[in-house]
């Protein structure tokens, strides 16, 4: 019999992992919704975010402020990389069919993969959370690592930020309009190309932020792009393509099934979220929430 407190603590840890998945897949979903680009190198930007966070923290020599600056700086690196790719290459391909866009972004992923290897080397890296976020805290008698509580705080913050940007700002409104009918937005005299660029940067920022946030919890390694991107794509599909709240629902499903699975049957823990994904897609192939496609 699984003990209640163990289960509760595992659910909380799963939810905190879901927050990172949400941040990454919200970015993917946003780009998918507005630009109609299934961005395979979104995972590479996540990896770049994690490695950059490591570099920034190391550069500061283990100063307690290292992680905070890394959280600010690493997403900027990801945005810079993404912006170069978008302006130089991707922006010329928006009219191509989805299969070509998938293959193109896959090509960029392959290139970025080797670039990361050239810049940071093939070794594992790790990053230590600042002292204030180390150790465990007790919530209602349930013991949870402090860093996971921090993630549980950041996730909703990002969700609120995304809601504000898409619902309340001019650029967000235009982006949502462009997601529905980009030609009409263009006819209204709005520079769609610039809107797309901005939307793409928001996506890149979220990928980099996810990478920086995950850095203290795992070993930072080449290949982390491969696993995150498949998870993010499945989450986005489960939630409904282009729907950011769907990404939140999908992430929670993915994160919690995995962490509870870890408690129930550790060997097959990774199988559970994929199984959950398949079950959802069998019942609702277009996702749980309304897709913008």
């Amino acid at each position: 019999m699984v003990e209640f407190t163990a289960l509760a603590s595992q659910v909380l840890v799963g939810l905190s992992r879901a927050m990172i998945l949400f941040i990454v897949s919200a970015g993917l979903s946003f780009v998918l919704g507005v630009l109609r680009v299934p961005n395979v190198f979104h995972g590479s930007l996540y990896m770049i975010g994690a490695f950059s966070a490591f570099s920034i923290a190391t550069w500061l020599g283990g100063h307690p402020a290292g992680l905070w600056l890394a959280l600010l700086g690493a997403p900027v690196v990801a945005v810079a990389v993404g912006l170069v790719v978008e302006r130089a290459l991707l922006s010329h391909l928006y009219q191509r069919e989805h299969l070509m866009l998938i293959l193109f972004t896959f090509g960029v992923m392959l290139v970025l993969n080797d670039l990361v290897k050239l810049v940071w080397g093939p070794d594992y890296r790790s990053l230590v959370a600042p002292p204030s976020l180390q150790g465990a805290a007790s919530v209602l008698g349930i013991s949870v690592p402090r860093y996971n509580l921090f993630l549980l705080f950041v996730g909703p913050l990002v969700a609120a930020g995304m809601w504000f940007v898409t619902a309340k700002t001019r650029i967000g409104r235009i982006a949502r309009a462009a997601a529905v009918d980009r030609d009409m937005v263009g006819i209204l005299g709005i520079n769609v190309s610039r809107v797309f660029s901005a939307a793409f940067m928001i996506g890149c920022y979220l990928a980099g932020l996810g990478g920086a946030l995950v850095a203290p919890t795992t070993s930072i390694t080449l290949g982390m792009d491969h696993t995150i991107i498949i998870e993010a794509f499945l989450i986005v599909t489960v939630g409904g393509l282009g729907n950011i709240w769907g990404a939140l629902v999908g992430s929670i499903l993915f994160g919690v099934t995995q962490s509870v699975g870890l408690l129930v049957w550790p060997q097959f823990a990774i199988v559970f979220p994929y199984l959950a994904t398949v079950i959802v897609l069998l019942l609702r192939p277009t996702g749980l929430l309304r897709s913008v496609w």
């Binding site: 299934p38 293959l103 896959f106 090509g107 290139v111 080797d114 491969h226 499945l234 097959f268 277009t286």
Partner: protein, 292 residues
């Protein structure tokens, strides 16, 4: 010929069969088969498990490989075929990834992330040359079979379904049945390619079912040309040969592959064979013009 070249040639044939089988559903069927590598992996693991865990004779395992892959194709196909395009692809990707995680974790049977190595194939196949002739024969026969299928009435209907599914439905063609049959056939030959891979390499590993391999096969089809029969084989040949040469000089093969892919999409999206066909057609036209 030095043994190494024979080995590379055999690898090109195996990979070429895999890419050609994908092209049946992708190029001729217009089906978004996002996770074709799964059937390759199923074929390979079937042979590997038949020999190492079940103790079956190798030829039984070899026959079982494509059959089990085709069964997997039928199962996944039945589930996915009611959807179209991106949704078809995503459901298939999720089912394939589920299978990948099971192979990755079921350590006692599949060997987990290490895979299975040193699979004992019959003595005649242990030399590269022996393996090569078997591979040449099987791939040759499979390509002929696939060519006949593409040129058959079924193949013609499949292409019609690709170009206009609504119209096909209206004239009484069962679109889903045609797509499902194409998926099963493609899975069968992908499974055969997987079994041949075991004959050549005597090992299997879970990355054979990982999504990255599926996209790499896509790249081969694109490079060779989707709408041509020999394109995928040519694409597979170019990529395997380039990888072999490049890996002698650099560790950054994926950067080269990525760059080729990006250039291809910008400058030659119809692929090598497609480009060649257009070029030949263009020449013929100008020659005809000259006589007019």
């Amino acid at each position: 010929m030095p043994e190494f070249y024979v080995y590379i040639l055999a690898l090109i044939l195996v990979t070429g069969l895999l890419a050609t089988s994908l092209n049946l559903v992708l190029g001729y069927g217009g089906i978004y088969q996002f996770h074709h590598a799964v059937f390759y992996g199923v074929g390979a693991y079937t042979l590997a498990l038949a020999i190492t865990r079940m103790g079956w004779p190798a030829w039984v395992g070899f026959a079982a490989g494509p059959v089990v892959a085709a069964a997997a194709g039928a199962l996944i196909g039945v589930i996915c075929v009611r959807l179209t395009r991106l949704y078809f692809g995503m459901l298939q990707l999720s089912l394939g990834s589920l299978l990948w995680t099971i192979v990755l974790r079921w350590r006692s049977v599949t060997g987990g992330d290490d895979g299975i190595h040193g699979i004992l194939v019959p003595a005649a196949l242990q030399r590269v040359e022996g393996a090569y002739y078997v591979i040449l024969a099987v791939v040759g026969a499979s390509l002929v079979a696939l060519f006949i299928i593409v040129r058959s009435p079924f193949g013609a209907t499949l292409q019609a379904v690709r170009d206009n599914p609504q119209r096909c439905q209206a004239v009484g063609i069962d679109v889903r049945v045609h797509q499902l049959v194409a998926i099963v056939i493609a899975a069968f030959f992908a499974g055969a390619a997987g079994a041949l891979y075991v004959v050549l390499e005597r090992s299997v590993f879970p990355n054979m079912l990982f999504w990255v391999l599926s996209l790499e096969i896509f790249v081969m089809c694109l490079l060779g040309g989707w709408f041509t029969f020999l394109g995928p084989l040519v694409g597979a040949g170019i990529i395997v040969a380039l990888r072999t040469v490049a890996s002698r000089y650099t560790e950054n093969w994926t950067m080269i592959l990525g760059t080729i892919l990006i250039l291809l999409i910008f400058f030659m999206p119809e692929g090598v064979m497609g480009h060649l066909q257009q070029w030949i057609a263009g020449r013929r036209r100008t020659r005809e013009d000259a006589y007019v």
